[in-house]
């Protein structure tokens, strides 16, 4: 099996004078070539922190990161130097950020930005080469060639999102991270872009991590899903299984809080309660205070992540018996 990324016991802690906020705790998962992993959770669950930590973009002075993230079987993203990281960036590992409208400099043409980014790894590339490469990518995301010479403010949100995706593909990276990349778009555009992404991946054989709070995005564009709650991964598995038979009570609740993309209408429910205070150690199940099925044990002891052979599993006492 071709493992692209294997995250092992990863912790991310934000440190300031008065507080230590453990934003990601003990996260472990792995994805193989061609996989598309949806990382879901509500805001504050640590999903974006996890991704930004993998990209090495968190400020060093105020964060502590432990654990391992083995990329392409030989590089630990969490311990390599800035210089080595810069070599990987965009060439092997690229990202599309939230709100693409802000991810392009407003006073530079698309062509300028693409040329500069391309030359980070190919310093001697000519304008023509870059232009040719870009036009191919723009076509891939259904944009006309003329976009190349526009300024960001001359494009719609959907177009900008496509530009950002095309930009991330400049060096055909092995791993692509989408950080809430489609959240700001309207539903129709979002649907189109997700379809295009899936289509595109078949051609390019990239692996993708999709960070979102929207279960429907996961179900329509991913094959695996990791559900995060309060900094911990509480459930991991194949989308086709998790969406139909969610194991962890949080996943169940999360699925109920979103309208079904297809199928019959059902009642939407919100989850009562709030996220726990992440600046304190939690010696119990993180979800217990909001869980409808929580037992005494859940409040006293921390359930460990139990995984099966295919990597799927949950961190919950209720499912430990291996029921499926």
């Amino acid at each position: 099996m071709n493992t692209v990324l294997s995250v092992q016991n990863m912790n991310v802690t934000y440190v300031n004078k008065s507080k230590r906020v453990m934003a990601v705790r003990n996260a472990s998962f792995s994805i193989s070539k061609g996989d598309s992993l949806g990382l879901v959770g509500e805001s504050g669950s640590g999903k974006s922190t996890l991704a930004i930590a993998l990209l090495g973009l968190l400020p060093k002075e105020t964060t502590e990161i432990t654990g391992k993230a083995i990329f392409l079987e030989d590089t630990d993203l969490l311990s390599i130097s800035e210089k080595e990281m810069n070599e990987l960036r965009w060439k092997k590992l690229a990202v599309v950020f939230q709100k693409a409208m802000n991810s392009l400099s407003p006073v530079h043409r698309i062509s300028t930005v693409f040329e500069d980014i391309y030359r980070v790894h190919e310093p001697h590339a000519t304008k023509e080469e870059i232009h040719a490469a870009t036009v191919r990518l723009l076509k891939l995301v259904n944009l006309p060639e003329r976009v190349y010479h526009l300024y960001p403010h001359e494009m719609s949100g959907g177009m900008l999102q496509r530009v950002a995706i095309a930009m991330s593909l400049l060096h055909s990276p092995q791993l692509l991270i989408f950080d809430e990349a489609t959240t700001a778009l309207d539903v129709v555009t979002q649907g189109q872009i997700l379809k295009e992404i899936v289509q595109m991946e078949k051609e390019l054989e990239t692996t993708r991590i999709m960070i979102t709070h929207d279960m429907s995005v996961v179900s329509s564009s991913c094959n695996k899903v990791a559900v995060m709650y309060a900094g911990e991964i509480v459930e991991f598995g194949y989308v086709k299984n998790v969406m139909v038979h969610p194991q962890h009570p949080y996943t169940k609740a999360l699925l109920k809080s979103f309208p079904a993309l297809k199928g019959e209408k059902r009642k939407m429910e919100s989850i009562p309660g709030f996220l726990p205070d992440l600046s304190k150690e939690i010696p119990a199940c993180v979800f217990a205070p909001r869980c409808a099925y929580a037992t005494e044990r859940c409040r006293a002891e921390k359930p460990l992540f139990h995984s099966r052979e295919d990597g799927s599993g949950t961190a919950c006492f209720l499912t430990e018996g291996g029921a499926d």
Partner: protein, 322 residues
Amino acid sequence: MSKYILRRLFSGILTILMVFVLDFIIIKAAPGDPVRTIMGKETDDPELRAALMEKYGLDKPFHVQFVSQLKNMLRGDFGNSIIYNRSVADMIKERLPATLLLGLVDCILALIIGTALGIFCARRDGSFIDNFLSSIAYTLDAMPSFWLGLMLIIVFSSRLNLLPAQGMENVREGYEGFRHTLDVMEHMVLPVMTMVLITMPGYFRIAKSSIQQVTSEDFITTLRSTGMSEKMIFSKYIFKNAILPTVTMFGITLAFLVTGVTLVEIVFSWPGTGRLTLTAINQRDYPTLMGVYMVMSISVAVVMVLVDIAYAFLDPRIRYDK
């Protein structure tokens, strides 16, 4: 784009018209008899009065006076000084070079030094040197320019006897050629230092805050994640985005250049338009005062429009707005 330029031109013209109307209203509403001022206190000869009224068109109805004065202004005639009996426009023209010299040197130095310090502190936010420079900028902002000028005179001129405090050149020596240039430069040190210290904090603050703001934008994070070097990100992407407010500020300073140096000119007896203003105030030479005000307002309006148009070429977003 052309719509934007037309719009700016229109409001520039409107401003000049408004200045003229204000000017006209102020003269008409001002207490005191203008004819009396011209005649002097001693005589009150009705014949002379009538003649003067006719000469200055004061016997005509307001709207006729308004139109004829507007015509004069459009021809570049801003009236005559009652003290020197000379055209105000000529008097301003004579003194403008000295003012422009002082103002331009100040504008450019303040821009360079203030922006450089702003960039320097933006990357060291909260450090000792940043706090120190920011406090100085805050204090300088609260400082009357003329007072700072006086203090510099006390220190550098009357105590240390290092630099000349008055005028633009050493009249007694009557230097020529290169020696003259040096002499003028020496006389410029204190006024320029005063002006730069007063105008610099603005550039400092704007450069610092806009660099910090741009640095936290999403597109900078995106560029960082591409592995682009910090140097490249800063010099090309942060800089071009962050410099726009500085350009605006430079434009405004440029527009208000002539009026901005007035007080400092007076402190240092600099032979520019500021001196002209002071003399006019002291001698109650109202036509000159009005003329100076008109010329300055018009020059501000014209430069502002030019600056706005130039700005449109720098920021692609403006070209398509409205």
